[in-house]
Every structure is written in structure tokens, then in C-alpha cells.
């Protein structure tokens, strides 16, 4: 978009257009967001910026006037917020739900502004807008002062790498343009963000609704001598990069149209590369040189940060998506354990031990939080001990990955130091992470290669190792069936073992309770033990309620393909409660036991169990026979 003096342009002939466009081309770009608490006037401010920079077209203005009469919150006046609140639900409720991106330009610079929601409920959408921004305009209602959301958004902006803040003390007209109010809010804000690492914090008194200090200075605030918002945005230096950075090229896509050509397509994340330069394949350490830098517009001599190119290497080295080509003399970390800041977006809490998909720009790997170090208290920034991260909370976690990834600390590189977390069942994006540093453990503990293998151990026993995972409600018959089955296999000379939920809780897991966090850890440990036993060549029966799909999935992922057999012991709740062999249902229903599966804690039945046993009306012996038959048909015994 553009902002031009109409009369000057009306005269412009075609030759003038070329030079005008050339000028557009070389303008710098500033990406910023507006954030802060609900009703602080974020959308109105952007509407004001667009309006005052003449970016509202006549048909849009006509629509706005019509809308303002219907949905406006300003009485007879037009409601500028309606220019950006584009969703029906937003207009009806008069709030912002999701981030809107708007584009405008002045004679000096181009801007992309993200208008983000203030409600805590929609923090994930604020973070979306902040992740690509260089500067945050934090709005505060002069009458309200600093609110919890002002703090939350400031912390998230800081964590996401934003280094420039404008504190817009808005609705200054509603406090009679009082300099003291402004000074007090500015001083309070400065002191609480002192440790957040911002390079600039510029407070500006403002009235978005009336335009004071938005695009130009205001006569109403003679005591304020600083720039208007737009004047500041035009000059703030977001390019101040601290010198050259090492070359990083995350490989997106291997381009192989024929046998002669093999190129690695990607975008240069940092630094630059030239033909003949030495590069290293991050994960393998293999060295080679760049032979060609291919683009549709011809080969390049050099490629720099931000360019999307295709690299051809001198040697046939193994590189695939997710790997990184990097400077030979400044390599990234390659590790399967690291510490990171996390912002959590999931409706279900982040739980240590639960497995998530961790995705960097081009790599994807299964990961668990091995340790939740602390949660950050939004009110006073204190570090608090926590067992989980709830929706919109922020904390520091240690991660453990199933395979190493290449990365840099986020502070050094926003592109190679960031990741998202994805829920494996719903595919929802549930968190964002900013890597702090690799953990030493990963570097120093190497897998000890042993000579006697799982296959040789199993062969000696004439059997195929397996983990039969019996899941179902308490009292559904898991242990009874597992016990009968083990007797049968034992009689047939098979080597077996039963891991029983209750028994394990007497020893290995005696330190764990029944909260959601502890249940996840309970399952993780048992799954690891089952894996070791399968590695020893045994047929293992795990008899565990294991109510959550995510944990059963984690257990499955730990085993080799075909080794994990999910057995759903399907007995209706009513029947289990009636049997109640240990008297637990009666107590749970009286409220004497908390977090009891099926009563006040959920059971997520398997969507597609390997063996589905409907027990109602059947003798346990019959059922055990059925499982044995299943195993025999598939060569387990």
C-alpha cells in the first residue's frame, strides 16, 4: 500500500511511475503489532493510522459508516475499530478475537501491522502476531494503568525476541491530558520491564480515537516533546544486527528432477554463502563445498539472509529435509536435549513425560518435557515450581528428543532457535518454544553398543518379543486375563512377565500419586521397563488402566514396529462399578478417592486397538484363549 499526495500523483505520467516504484522497492519494512489489555484501543489505533494515512478507500469508508451505525461503540461517530475487526463474531461482540494483518506505507517506510486480541483467552493469537514482529506497541488505558495483560503481553513479546517497545498511554483525553498520569504509568512500566531485555522503550501519550500523537504531535499535550507514534515508527532502527552472523541453511526440500541434478532448496536463515565456500552438513559433520547457487533467474555468485535458493554441492553427501547446511567454522548445536522457554497454548496442560511432536522450521521429531524447571508468574515475574503448564502460561522446560536436531540459541537466531509443539492426536499447535541452550548430558552420554542383540536373546527362547498392553477401567478384568494368559504361555515354555499397575506402585513408582502429571510419569516408567524386558527377549504383559491415548501412543512409539499390541479390555463402567473387586468404586463415588478413572477422571478408549475384548457375558478363560490364538496366528508364540 502507499500514502501519496493525490494532487502530485494525478500529474504523474508513466515515466514518473517507474522511478516512483523504484523508490517503493528500496523502502525498509517494519513489522509491528499492537497489544495490551482488552478495551485499551488497539483496533481503534490501527483504524486511526490507516485513516490518517489516507488508506481507507471510499467504498470501505461507506461500509464503515454503515457498520458503525449497526455495531459501533462510539454513538454517532464512526468506529474505527470496525476497520480491522473483520470477523462477524468480533463485530457482534465488539472485541478482537484473532490477529488481523494490515499494510500501509509512508514516504519513508513500509509497514505490516498485526492487530492482536487483548483477551487472555486469545493469547495464542497475540503470540502469532508477535512472532514475526520487530516492535510492539503496548497500549494502556490511561484511566486503568498497567493491567495483568499488559504484563503478560510484555513478557511474551520479550520471549519472542521483540526488542523495541512503544508504550502507548491511550485515552489520554479521558484523563484531561494529565501529564502526571502519563509520567506515573511510564515510570511504572519502565521499572517492571527493566529485566526483559528491550533495547528501546518509548512511552507516548495518545488518543487513538481523536488522533492525538498518532500521526502528528498534539496541541493537547504541550508537556510532551517526543515523537508521535508514526514519526517514531518511521525511524526506529530494527536492522541493528550485531555484525555478520554464521551461515545457516535449513534444508526444506531436495530437488531432483533427473539423475544429473540434485539440489537442496531452502531459505538462508542467516549469514551468506558463495560459490566454492566450504559448508558442513550439521547432523553428520560431513564437509563439502558449494558448487552452484541455482535460481530461476540464473545462477548466483552469492546468496544472503532471506534469499530462497537451491544449493548444489560438490560431493554426493547425504542431506535430507530437516538437516542444515552451515558454516564450517561456526556450527550450530546438534543435540537431543536442551532447555527452552515455552509459551503454552493448549487447552490441556503441558505435562512432563507426555510425548509431543516438536517442529522446527524444517525438522520434526517426537519430544517430551523431561523436566519442568519453573513457571513464570506473570504478576511479578517470579519463578515458581510447577508440575504442569496451563493454557497461556509461560515457563522453562528441559526437552528430551527421540533424535537429535540442529539448532542455535534463540537469542542468537530467531529462525534456527525456535520450535512449535504439536499434539499428536489432534494435530493442534499447543505451544511455542525458544531454545536457551543444549544440555550437556546429551553430549556426554553415548549409547553403549552391545554384542548380544535382542534378536539373539529372543532366538534362544524360540519366541518373538512382544509387549501386550492391557488397558481398561479398574475392575474390567485386565489382570485376570493377563494372569490366565501368562499361565498358558508359561505352560507352553514361553518366557513371560507381568507388569501390574498396583504392584509397580508398591516399588518403582511408590513416589507417584494420581494426579494427571503423575499418571503420565507412571506410564512412562512402566513403558521404559517393558521396553527393556522386550529387549531381553521376553513377552511382557502390562496391565495398567492407562487412561490417556497420548501415553499409550508414547508407549507404542518406544517399541519396535509390530512389538506393541494394544489390548482393550472393554467392560462397561456400570459393570466395573458393580464388580468393584477392591471396593474402590464405592469409595470414589462417595468422594473419598479423588481422580478416579471413570468417576472424576476421564478414560479415553482406544480408537483402534489391536485386540478389542468385549468381556460382558464371557468367561475369562475364553477371552484368554482368544488372545492366545491371536498371538499364535501372528507368530508370537
Amino acid at each position: 500500500m502507499f500514502n501519496v499526495d493525490d494532487s502530485a500523483l494525478a500529474e504523474t505520467e508513466a515515466p514518473g511511475i517507474r522511478s516512483y516504484l523504484a523508490g517503493q522497492e528500496n523502502k525498509t519494512l517494519l513489522r509491528f503489532l499492537t497489544c495490551g489489555s482488552v478495551d485499551d484501543g488497539k483496533s481503534t489505533l490501527i483504524g486511526r493510522l490507516l485513516f490518517d494515512t489516507k488508506l481507507i478507500f471510499e467504498d470501505q469508508l461507506a461500509a464503515l459508516e454503515q457498520d458503525s451505525r449497526r455495531h459501533g461503540t462510539n454513538g454517532e461517530d464512526i468506529d474505527l475499530a470496525l476497520l480491522v475487526d473483520g470477523l462477524e463474531a468480533e463485530r457482534e461482540q465488539g472485541i478482537t478475537i484473532d490477529v488481523a494483518y494490515r499494510f500501509f506505507a509512508t514516504a519513508k517506510r513500509k509497514f505490516i501491522v498485526a492487530d492482536t486480541p487483548g483477551h487472555e483467552q486469545y493469547t495464542r493469537n497475540m503470540a502469532t502476531g508477535a512472532s514475526t514482529a520487530d516492535l510492539a506497541v503496548v497500549l494502556v488505558d490511561a484511566r486503568q494503568g498497567i493491567l495483568p495483560q499488559t504484563r503478560r503481553h510484555s513478557i511474551i513479546a520479550s520471549l519472542l525476541g521483540i526488542r523495541h517497545i512503544v508504550l502507548a498511554v491511550n485515552k489520554i483525553d479521558l484523563v484531561d491530558f494529565d501529564a502526571d498520569v502519563f509520567e506515573r504509568i511510564a515510570a511504572e512500566y519502565r521499572s517492571f520491564v527493566a529485566d526483559l531485555g528491550f533495547r528501546t522503550v518509548v512511552p507516548i501519550p495518545m488518543s487513538a480515537r481523536h488522533g492525538d500523537n498518532v500521526t502528528r504531535g498534539s496541541d493537547n499535550t504541550p508537556w510532551y516533546s517526543g515523537p508521535s507514534l508514526l514519526e517514531h515508527l518511521e525511524v526506529v532502527d530494527n536492522e541493528a544486527a550485531p555484525g555478520p552472523r554464521p551461515f545457516r541453511f535449513p534444508v526444506q526440500y531436495v530437488n531432483r528432477p533427473n539423475h544429473e541434478f540434485r539440489g537442496f532448496a531452502g531459505t538462508v536463515a542467516s549469514g551468506a554463502i558463495g560459490i566454492g565456500d566450504e559448508v558442513v552438513v550439521a547432523k553428520s559433520g560431513r564437509r563439502t563445498r558449494v558448487k552452484r547457487i541455482v535460481t530461476y533467474d540464473g545462477d548466483l555468485e552469492r546468496a544472503c539472509e532471506g534469499q530462497a535458493v537451491t544449493l548444489v554441492l560438490q560431493d554426493e553427501v547425504e542431506v535430507s529435509r530437516g538437516n542444515m547446511l552451515v558454516a564450517a567454522d561456526a556450527r550450530p548445536a546438534v543435540a537431543d536435549q536442551f532447555a527452552a522457554n515455552v509459551v503454552w497454548f493448549g487447552e490441556q496442560a503441558l505435562l512432563p513425560g507426555r510425548m509431543y511432536l516438536l517442529r522446527t522450521e524444517t525438522d520434526e521429531v517426537s519430544a517430551t518435557v523431561s523436566h519442568l524447571k519453573h513457571r513464570v508468574n506473570i504478576g511479578n515475574f517470579a519463578r515458581e515450581a510447577a508440575k504442569s503448564l496451563e493454557l497461556n502460561e509461560v515457563g522453562v522446560c528441559n526437552f528430551s528428543l527421540q533424535a537429535p536436531i540442529a539448532f542455535d540459541p534463540f537469542e542468537e537466531n530467531r529462525t534456527t532457535g525456535s520450535f512449535i509443539l504439536i499434539d499428536r492426536l489432534t494435530n493442534a499447535t499447543v505451544g511455542a518454544g525458544m531454545i536457551l541452550h543444549p544440555l550437556r548430558r546429551a553430549a556426554n552420554i553415548h549409547w553403549q553398543a552391545l554384542d548380544v542383540s535382542k534378536a539373539s536373546r529372543a532366538a534362544m527362547k524360540h519366541q518373538k518379543p512382544a509387549v501386550l498392553w492391557f488397558t481398561g477401567l479398574s475392575g474390567s478384568g485386565k489382570s485376570t486375563i493377563a494372569n490366565l494368559l501368562e499361565k498358558k504361555l508359561h505352560a507352553a515354555g514361553r518366557h513371560t512377565y507381568i507388569l501390574d499397575g498396583d504392584n509397580v506402585r508398591h516399588g518403582l513408582n511408590r513416589d507417584l500419586g494420581f494426579t494427571e502429571e503423575d499418571r503420565v510419569e507412571n506410564i512412562r516408567r512402566v513403558a521404559e521397563v517393558a521396553r527393556l524386558m522386550a529387549d531381553a527377549g521376553l513377552i511382557v504383559f502390562v496391565s495398567f488402566i492407562s487412561p490417556f491415548r497420548a501415553e499409550r501412543r508414547m508407549a507404542r512409539d518406544l517399541m519396535e514396529d509390530g512389538e506393541f499390541v494394544e489390548v482393550f479390555v472393554d467392560t462397561p463402567f456400570e459393570e466395573c462399578a458393580k464388580r468393584d473387586p477392591k471396593g474402590l468404586y464405592a469409595r470414589a463415588l462417595r468422594g473419598e478417592i479423588k481422580n478416579f478413572t471413570g468417576v472424576d477422571s476421564p478414560y479415553e478408549p482406544p480408537e483402534k486397538a489391536d485386540i478389542h475384548l468385549r468381556t460382558l457375558g464371557r468367561a475369562p478363560e475364553d477371552i484368554a484363549d482368544e488372545v492366545e490364538e491371536w498371538l499364535r496366528e501372528r507368530g508370537y508364540c
Binding site: L21, A89, V99, S131, S418
Partner: protein
Amino acid sequence: MPKALSHLKRLEAESIHIMREVAATFSKPVMLYSIGKDSSVLLHLALKAFYPAKPPFPFLHVDTTWKFREMIAFRDRMAAELGFDLLVHVNEEGVRDGINPFDHGSNIHTHVMKTVALRQALDKYGFDAAFGGARRDEEKSRAKERIFSFRNAGHAWDPKNQRPEMWKIYNTRVAKDESIRVFPLSNWTELDIWQYILQEKIPIVPLYFAQRRPVVSRDGMLILVDDERMKLLPGEMVEERMVRFRTLGCYPLTGAIESNASTLEEIVAEMLISRTSERQGRLIDRDEAGSMEKKKREGYF
């Protein structure tokens, strides 16, 4: 080497990056090709993204049977010249029922021949990702949409529950029958599009350039008499006027503007002093406030 990339280079690189992400992570992507200027830019970027290979996905045109004749001729010429894999889908049931914009109005026509037709085509081929040329500066609900925009198994968009989209890390995971609409031009403006077409010499449909054309004035819009299906209402008459189009769609629903701009430079100059947005020429957006969002929730692009 310049210190920073120029504005268009930056946009180009971002779009190429997005296209490569899709090719690398989806099993069956498709690029929607609507023949307009944005589609022309999209096609050009796809050629760049995968060079020296050809784009590793087919192109799909959902033909409402009411497009300008020049658009169809242009489409076929581009497919032949560039040798890309072009799929054309028409909602045959809609044709059988005689759905047309004159008798049924823009709402029903667009729903049956565009939205439903698109859903049919996506289901027929089982595409799990579909590129579109939409830009955030076009319309208010588009300004709210993610670059990777999730669609449920019924192709519906849920604007109140979009996935967070952090940095350039795109969550490309979908379950069976779910899909993602991908908008590589999200951050381009109308000016960027024209400037890029000028810089890269990208071919576009001649309807964008001013020429004497037969038009009828109807509902405050100038409608081109593109074929014999256009019946005149009482009092209407066909006039030859110097006109061009800012956007292209179904000819009965797309208003021309009076203009003398017959070169790209003149088009840009005209756009710079324009006081109306490009979508003003689109009848389908005017039906009611929030109409674009509604269409998108039903599966429209």
C-alpha cells in the same frame, strides 16, 4: 551484495518458501488457478520455487462456465506454453440445473458453481493442500486468515479457532479428509502484485488493459456483453466504452471501470490515485456485510 533484500525480493522469497514447505510435507497438493493477475503471479512463483524442476503439483481451474471468453483462451494458451498439468472442473449438476448468475443471483450461482464445485473437485482428487492467491489486503476476513489455513473434513473454515502460526514454522499436519488452504501471497498488496508483474514481465489476461468494449450499465456497474447469454433488460442498451477490469471473475458479476490505461505503467498510475478498493467491482462481496467470511466458512477460497 546489498545489505538487505528489496521489498519484492523479500515477498518473493517468502512465497517460494511457503510453496516448498507444501511440496515437502503434503502428499497431494494442488494449485488453484483462477486465471486472474494474482494467479498469474502465483504460477510464476511456482515456476521459480522448483526450478529447474517443474512444479510438483497440478493446477486446478474451477470453471463456472461464466468466465470471460478471453480468460479461458488465456488459460489454455498458458497451459500449452508452460506445459503445466491443468485440471478443469465444472459442477455438472449445476449446469444440468441451469444455474446462472442472471436468474439465480450472485449468491446461489457462486455457491453452486464455485464453492460446491471446488469442494467436489477437492474430494474427487483427494487433495490435502490447495494453494490460493488470496491476499490479506483484499478484504477484512482475509486479513484475519493464516497463511496455512486449516479446513475440516467438510472443507469449512473455523475463524474462531485457527491454529497459532508462529514464525515461519507451519503446522502442516492433517488427519484423513482434512486439508489446508495455503496462501503464499498473504502479505502482498495490490500494488506489490502490479509492480511484480511489471518487473517480471508476467503475462496477464488482456482484459486488465483498457480497450473499447461493449458494456451495459446495470446496478451501478458496467457489465461486459461477453456472449449471447447476456440478455438486455428493458431500457438497457449496449455502448462501446473505453474500459478495463481491476479484478476478473464471472463476467456478469464483474464490473468494468472506465479507463484509458493501456500499459502496466498506466494501470499502476491509475491505481495509485484510485479512491476505491479493487473488490468494489465484485458483486459477490456486496451482498451483505461479512459475506466473504460466510462464503469462506462454507469452503469458498
